[in-house]
């Protein structure tokens, strides 16, 4: 089958998923969550005020049109205004994306580089004490609550030792660097456990393949096999794993951002949750779902391009 036909089919399949995502979000926020006018106007609102507000928010329209608005917003990114700050949500998103990325891109790139290299090392020494020890460390790191890392890291390294900024942010290139150092460090510690474990499994899957035996019987050294043969083949699942994480980078890190006062999308989302700011929560949910869907299509297409063994059905 032609690759473009596959891409087209994959894109067509996005439509029912997107409609479904909008339906779930719509049901959760517009139907089940109930009338937000109580929340907005407080206890002493008159019926007239409530009706006016409902009209203003478009809540008196038939539910089908409200649903269509939500679907439309998934394409136009016009999500209306925040209830608490009155800003348009699209401008909040475009302002928040940069600070989020200054935290997530360094964290993501460093973690991926570290854990892929470490996983090669671990695969090289597979079965040894070093291998078992690093798996144990990974599992140990994963067994501590992320909140505990953030709280302890902020208190110990920033407050007690004074090595890093406790909290805050400054825009412009060199200005933000001191503020993201500790958050990036915590990001790495949080994600290195699961990443290294995952990459190790991939490497070990490859190490026992027939082509490795062939290479070894040709007399190739263990290092050449690992870096030239195993790594190349392992790149397929690694790329898949990495690409699917990209949309989450834009959304930032919920907890880290709010603790370190980074004005990114994660912090915005968390504030919205705390203040029951439904339009913002809804917008962030739609945004992340759309990003996730787009990137899963990209991953699938990449997969068929990178790996010729994957037959297109």
């Amino acid at each position: 089958m032609n690759i473009w036909v596959y891409v087209l089919r994959r894109l067509l399949y996005v439509v029912p998923i997107l409609l479904g995502v909008c339906l779930i979000i719509f049901v959760l926020f517009n139907v089940v969550a109930g009338d937000p006018t109580h929340l907005l106007l407080g206890k002493h609102a008159t019926a007239k005020q409530m009706a006016e507000l409902r009209h203003e928010l478009g809540l008196d329209r038939p539910w089908f049109f409200q649903y269509l608005d939500l679907v439309k917003s998934a394409f136009t990114f016009d999500f209306g205004r925040s209830w608490s700050t009155k800003q348009t949500i699209s401008s909040m998103i475009s302002e928040g994306a940069i600070p989020s990325l200054t935290l997530t891109i360094p964290g993501f790139v460093l973690t991926t580089v570290f854990s892929v290299s470490l996983s090669l090392l671990v695969a090289f020494y597979r079965g040894s004490f070093f291998d078992r020890f690093s798996v144990f460390i990974c599992v140990g790191l994963m067994s501590i609550s992320s909140l505990a890392y953030i709280l302890f890291g902020q208190w110990f390294f920033a407050y007690y030792l004074g090595w890093f900024e406790i909290s805050g942010y400054d825009s412009g290139f060199p200005n933000w660097v001191p503020y993201v150092q500790l958050p990036v460090l915590i990001w790495i510690i949080l994600s290195i456990g699961p990443d290294l474990r995952f990459f190790r499994t991939i490497m070990l899957d490859e190490v026992y393949q027939d082509y490795v035996r062939t290479a070894r019987s040709k007399g190739l050294g263990e290092k050449v096999i690992l870096f030239k043969h195993v790594l190349k083949n392992a790149m397929i699942p690694i790329i898949t794993y990495v690409v699917i994480q990209i949309p989450f980078l834009i959304l930032g890190a919920l907890l880290i951002e709010s603790f370190f006062g980074i004005p990114g999308l994660g912090g915005i989302t968390l504030n919205a949750i705390n203040s029951s700011d439904f339009p913002v929560i809804r917008a962030m949910t739609v945004l992340s779902a759309v990003a996730y869907i787009i990137f899963s299509v990209i991953t699938d297409v990449l997969y068929t391009i990178v790996d010729p063994r994957v037959r297109l059905k």
């Binding site: 995502v21 909140l147 962030m284 949910t285």
Partner: protein, 300 residues
């Protein structure tokens, strides 16, 4: 009861491979040889007993009692000091075991039930039913888990039951996917055809013949979901959506955000340590179960 089912399902297989050990027997023996796994099981049992005893107030029944000054540091009487109201941190940590273990148990059970039912129906019946279920879980998994958690707890209100449901309802997709795949692999096997030949109904074939053969996935997933749920409770507590009016590790860790600046580290330490031990044990147990139960790894 469970054993009986396993025996029936494995009958046909066992006649072919004479005197080979059943998967479960083999798994049990492998597991018992693994010292780390045995340790993990012991830890899990100890935590379960603590959780049961605290729920009938035999231990830590007086957790709400004032035992010292507010924020007194660790001492001989109070190993982990006291909290803001002068309550013993040790007693609170013990009492928190109950919340953590029940969240783990109910969340993992809810997600297992949904995952098994939807996954096996989709895999077994195929066609339109399969398409609808696949569409449903693909849609569901496109929405970030944390947003669904927030939305569900908003709707259900606060409290332990809301936490169970919110965590359970958001964590079934991976199991459902796995079960569906396995059922598709199994439904055209000879033993299922044999069951059809003797007049077995769909329901019986699915739950009595196929399911015992995919049960190992459920068990591995259960231990994974159990610890993920315990960790998620902390995040829910931080968002103010966790359990109210009784100690939990999540609320204790969350309290630390105001305490650490005053040098009060013991509440964070106690809760983090208690959680670390059980989550680590479950992680090790999950890996050991995977090694012991995955037929692909058998004999390696």
């Amino acid at each position: 009861m469970e054993n009986a089912q396993v025996v029936t399902a494995n009958n046909i297989k066992e006649k072919n491979e004479q005197k080979s050990k059943s998967l479960w027997r083999h798994a049990f023996e492998t597991l018992m040889k693994d010292k780390m796994a045995v340790m993990a099981i012991v830890i899990f049992i100890v935590y379960s007993i603590i959780a049961l005893l605290t729920s009938v107030d035999i231990i830590a029944g007086d957790w709400a009692k004032e035992v010292g000054a507010s924020y007194s540091p660790p001492s001989a009487e109070n190993w982990f000091g006291t909290d803001i109201f002068g309550r013993s941190v040790v007693a609170k940590t013990l009492k928190g075991t109950q919340v953590a273990m029940s969240i783990g148990l109910f969340t993992a059970s809810i997600s297992a039930v949904i995952g098994i039912i939807l996954g096996s129906i989709a895999g077994y019946y195929g066609g339109k039913v399969d398409e609808i279920i696949v569409w449903f879980y693909t849609t569901f998994s496109s929405i970030p888990g944390i947003m669904l958690l927030v939305a569900i707890t908003f709707i259900l209100g606060k409290g332990l039951v809301a936490v169970y449901l919110a965590l359970g309802l958001t964590s079934w997709v991976s199991l459902c996917r796995l079960i569906r795949g396995e059922v598709i692999r199994h439904k055209d096997r000879e033993y299922v055809h044999a069951a059809t030949a003797i007049g077995g109904k769909d329901f019986r074939k699915l739950f009595k013949h196929i399911l015992p053969n995919v049960l190992h996935i459920v068990i591995i997933n259960f231990s994974l979901q159990f610890q993920v749920a315990i960790k998620s409770e902390v995040i829910l507590s931080y968002l103010g959506l966790g359990v109210q009016g009784r100690p939990s590790w999540g609320t204790m860790i969350d309290d630390a955000k105001l305490e650490l600046a005053r040098g009060v580290w013991w509440q964070l330490a106690a809760a983090t340590f208690a959680m670390f031990v059980i989550v680590l044990a479950l992680n090790i147990l999950g890996d050991a179960l995977r090694d012991a139960l995955d037929p692909k790894l058998k004999g390696k």
